[in-house]
């Protein structure tokens, strides 16, 4: 060959052109009648309870959720561990204290744009207050809507992540 192409030595059967083409065409034709693998997103969604192919992992780490106690107050005691551990430095916490000496957060804001969703905040929280959520639909109309304040974090209802369980490393 003029431009010095290396010709692979293959068994004769495999360099058959017509037969190979027909075989390929039969394959593609068969595929036309297979079941479709597409998940049609807005109609079908991955959920945590989903047992099918589109199940979303319970260890998924999405946007945060602050849990509340029975009186509707946030469980956070403003210990300051989560802003300390946060590698992205996205948690803003200003602690306050009430008459009984209970600490509570005056300001608790998470900048979801800066967050890297490592889940350390959930892991470090002694009160099981802040959690990363099993949730992925985060679209907003403006950038400022992505700084979640305490009220917003508390009002989220999506399931929270189980994170990685060392006793069950494969999630079985």
């Amino acid at each position: 060959m003029a431009i010095g192409v290396k010709v692979m030595k293959r068994p004769e059967r495999e360099v058959s052109y017509v037969r190979a083409t027909l075989k390929g065409m039969a394959l593609t034709f068969r595929h036309m009648f297979r079941t479709r693998v597409t998940m049609e997103y807005p109609e079908e969604k991955s959920t945590r309870d989903d047992r099918g192919a589109w199940a979303i992992s319970p260890r998924w780490r999405g946007t945060h959720r602050m849990l509340t106690d029975e009186q509707g107050r946030s469980k956070c005691v403003a210990c300051g561990l989560c802003p300390q551990v946060c590698p992205a430095n996205c948690i803003k916490l200003v602690p306050g204290e009430d008459e009984q000496g209970n600490r509570y957060p005056l300001i608790y804001e998470i900048d979801e744009f800066r967050c890297v969703f490592c889940g350390y905040c959930q892991e470090v929280c002694p009160e099981e207050a802040i959690h990363v959520g099993v949730h992925y639909e985060n679209a907003e109309y403006g950038r400022d809507r992505f700084v979640y304040d305490l009220e917003r974090l508390s009002s989220q209802t999506h399931p929270v992540s189980t994170l990685w369980d060392p006793t069950d490393p494969k999630g079985e």
Partner: protein, 410 residues
């Protein structure tokens, strides 16, 4: 102006409008079909968001392309850059003028239309925009014009990828035009006429030409793929090597025009395959369709569309089955396989036609076609046996003896 001429002009304009509309709408829908077929072959759904089942997707695409910004490369040759999409688009559309899409319609009218005077038409109106006596010669001439658009697009863009794409398009067109032209000579020999109407009539009398002229069909089909720059021969726009080839620098509607031209070319090549080798609008195993009448015209048009759609589907099927050829393989296939094959086939057909007609004295077109079909059957076994040995494209017999005889691993 006499009423007959006016009637002829009126009918021609109507046919033009009809064919133009059908081609443009058809091309739009073909873009959707291509995406759907590709999706199905890959176990996907394909576009299904716009309109019922995605039917309005082409409209959305068109709207988007019209509203998009047109960009011009700073150093492009403006005139040619603007001209190129039109140059590839127009020949593609021109070709649709000579394809007969239904049985001739007997018409007999003589009506006065107010100040315009009388319109008259008597006789069988051929259902083709221009019933050219030069038939497929026109198709061969015009189809190779399309490459000017591509080559000029590549050159005027002043971009290396576009230039390489245009260059490849030219080389490819030259290589395959020869094989294509040669593959049509047996058709000419058998029908004795280049007019497409006569070729269809000939096939109705005998067999569809795919049987007596199988190799012509084979070579024509492959060259057709190359002429329309479809995979596996889409080297002018090979994404993996040339970004987008000749239309790298084009945006918005000008890019769309190349797209429309490509699909219009696909339609034309498929229509040519149908007309030359699959009886055009002929309904097989009956002569009822040749008698003429409105019902016959409509039904034959339907049959033509069915055959056409099969070949268009076939083109897409091949596209999503085969990978792209390497450039030297493409040239080797054109010059070393298809051209000698077409040339040898002309000789075979000449000899067998002479033998069938003179020493054997077979006069019936059906028997003659059957005799040629038998010759073809032998040829199919020989040629595909030979190609299947893998000896042709590798270009040397050396490898055959050197190749280890491997057992296929089950």
């Amino acid at each position: 102006m006499n009423p007959e001429l006016k009637g002829f002009i009126l009918l021609s304009v109507l046919k033009m409008l009809f064919v133009f509309t059908v081609i443009m709408v058809g091309v739009a829908l073909l873009t959707l079909m291509e995406r759907k077929v590709s999706a199905w072959m890959q176990n996907r759904m394909g576009p299904n968001r716009v309109g019922p089942g995605g039917l309005l997707q082409p409209a959305a695409d068109g709207l988007k392309n019209i509203l998009k910004e047109e960009t011009y490369p700073a150093l492009a040759n403006r005139t040619l850059f603007l001209l190129a999409p039109a140059l590839s688009f127009i020949p593609a559309l021109l070709l649709s003028a000579v394809i007969p899409f239904a049985a001739p319609l007997p018409l007999d009218f003589d009506v006065g239309v107010g100040p315009l005077g009388r319109f008259a038409y008597h006789g069988r109106m051929p259902m083709v925009v221009a019933d050219l006596p030069i038939g497929f010669l026109f198709v061969l001439a015009i189809s190779s014009m399309g490459v000017y658009g591509i080559a000029l697009a590549g050159w005027s863009s002043n971009s290396k990828y576009a230039l390489l794409g245009g260059l490849r398009a030219c080389a490819q067109m030259i290589s395959y035009e020869v094989a294509m032209g040669l593959s049509l000579i047996p058709v000419l020999l058998l029908s004795g006429d280049v007019s497409l109407g006569a070729i269809i009539a000939n096939q109705q009398a005998g067999l569809w030409y795919v049987a007596p002229l199988f190799f012509s069909f084979f070579v024509f089909l492959i060259s057709g793929f190359a002429e329309t720059n479809r995979l596996p021969f889409d080297l002018p726009e090979a994404e993996s090597e040339l970004i987008a080839g000749y239309h790298t620098e084009y945006s918005a509607m000008k890019f769309s025009f190349f797209f429309i031209a490509e699909y219009a070319n696909v339609v034309t090549v498929c229509a040519m395959v149908t007309t030359l080798f699959f009886g055009g609008w002929d309904i097989p195993f009956t002569h009822w369709d040749e008698r003429g009448g409105l019902l016959q015209t409509l039904l034959t048009a339907g049959f033509f569309v069915v055959k056409l759609m099969f070949w268009i589907f076939f083109v897409m099927w091949i596209r999503w089955t085969l990978p792209r050829f390497r450039y030297d393989q493409l040239m080797a296939l054109g010059w070393k396989v298809l051209m000698p094959l077409a040339l040898a086939y002309i000789m075979v057909i000449c000899v067998s036609m002479y033998v069938v007609e003179h020493p054997l004295g077979v006069a019936s077109p059906v028997l003659r076609s059957l005799a040629l079909a038998a010759v073809n059957l032998v040829g199919i076994v020989l040629v595909f046996g030979f190609i299947d040995r893998g000896a042709l494209l590798s270009g040397s017999g050396r490898r055959r003896s050197a190749a280890p005889r491997l057992r296929r691993a089950a």
